[in-house]
């Protein structure tokens, strides 16, 4: 499934597309929420690897505004609960991710993003 944690790690890699190629814009999405086991240590450990603004904006596109615009310095339980939900429980099952720079469209089917490029698009 394309969860927002995965979305936060994917960039467009089409030939010549090296700037403004992240984050990919979610389009025509079918979203489902599936409960996941809460693990505070994982969230704390993963936090420094998140592109925060990309995550906040992607969550907003999917209708979740629970995250603060800036990554908080003090991490409390309520914040971790919201982060857990946004990163790990919102699944994009169908739709596409579109590159903000070159417009390349990466389809999502059965919860799996297809990031393959055609031969002439490979950098």
């Amino acid at each position: 499934m394309v969860r927002l944690i995965t979305h936060n790690l994917l960039a467009c890699h089409a030939k010549g597309c090296t700037t403004n190629n992240f984050p990919l814009k979610l389009q025509d999405v079918v979203v489902e929420v599936r409960e996941a086991e809460f693990n505070a240590d994982f969230l704390r450990g993963f936090l420094p690897r998140i592109e925060w603004t990309a995550l906040v904006n992607a969550a907003k596109e999917l209708g979740d505004t629970s995250l603060p615009l800036e990554m908080p310095e003090m991490v409390d339980d309520e914040f971790l609960k919201n982060l857990h939900h946004v990163l790990l429980e919102i699944h994009v099952d169908e739709g596409a991710m579109v590159c903000p720079n070159c417009g390349h469209k990466y389809p999502i089917m059965n919860g799996i993003p297809n990031m393959l490029l055609a031969e002439h698009e490979i950098g």
Binding site: M1, L9, L10, N114, L116
Partner: protein, 216 residues
């Protein structure tokens, strides 16, 4: 003892499209199990398996590390991505598969951010044209067509090792004798100063299989 993942949900038809776990898979599971407590101590947050096939290996790692880690897989074969997802579910491991060529779409965001990298490459000796054909078709042939010395795809991954591994990152690679394991280890050491060790080796029929563990 960590149980081998339950693959009973996969049918004959699935194995027409994805590689069915075999000796090379099992030696990798054994190597990971051998390192299980060390791996838990390292608390990896990002695990990335290239070419998961059935999803057996990632699910196995999931049963070692639980929810303390993110399990990404990347396979050129969309059916393998689906199997990795289903095998995860069957074994209560949440797997996030991506259909892609090696690590391409992760390269910028996972720059030195992979804590656990796993690759059981296609290593059967085939000629170069067959490799290109097999990878382009994106089907099961991609799982076994390995190249002149079974190394073409492995070489691409090894060249990216320095930009993938996190400071405490590890890479588990399955190799066969024909890969010239010693030479491969030396090349990575010279190029990136990444150390490696053969952590397990065994004979399986005509193959001599190795698991090489790389770490900074």
């Amino acid at each position: 003892m960590i149980p081998t993942p339950d693959l009973s949900h996969l049918k004959r038809e699935d194995y027409d499209h994805v590689y069915e776990p075999a000796e090379d898979t099992f030696i990798l599971l054994d190597a990971l199990e051998q390192d299980a407590s060390e791996l838990r101590e390292l608390t990896p947050r990002v695990c990335l398996e290239i070419g998961p096939g059935s999803g057996c290996v990632t699910s196995f790692v999931g049963s070692i590390l639980g929810t303390s880690c993110l399990y990404l897989t990347s396979d050129i074969n969309a059916h393998a991505s689906l199997c990795a997802l289903r095998t995860g579910r069957q074994n209560k491991v949440v797997v996030d598969p991506v259909t892609a060529n090696l690590v391409d779409p992760f390269r910028s965001r996972l720059y030195r951010n992979v804590d656990l990298l796993i690759f059981n490459p296609p290593y059967v000796l085939t000629d170069e044209l067959e490799v290109v054909d097999a990878q382009e078709q994106g089907g099961i042939a991609g799982a076994w067509a390995g190249g002149t010395i079974g190394m073409q795809v492995t070489d691409v991954v090894l060249d990216q090792l320095d930009e993938l591994l996190s400071p405490t990152g590890r890479f588990y690679l399955v190799a066969v004798k024909q890969n010239d394991v010693h030479n491969l280890q030396r090349r990575v050491q010279e190029k990136f100063n990444v150390q490696s060790e053969v952590v397990l080796q065994r004979r399986a029929g005509r193959e001599h299989l190795f698991v090489v563990r790389f770490m900074r």
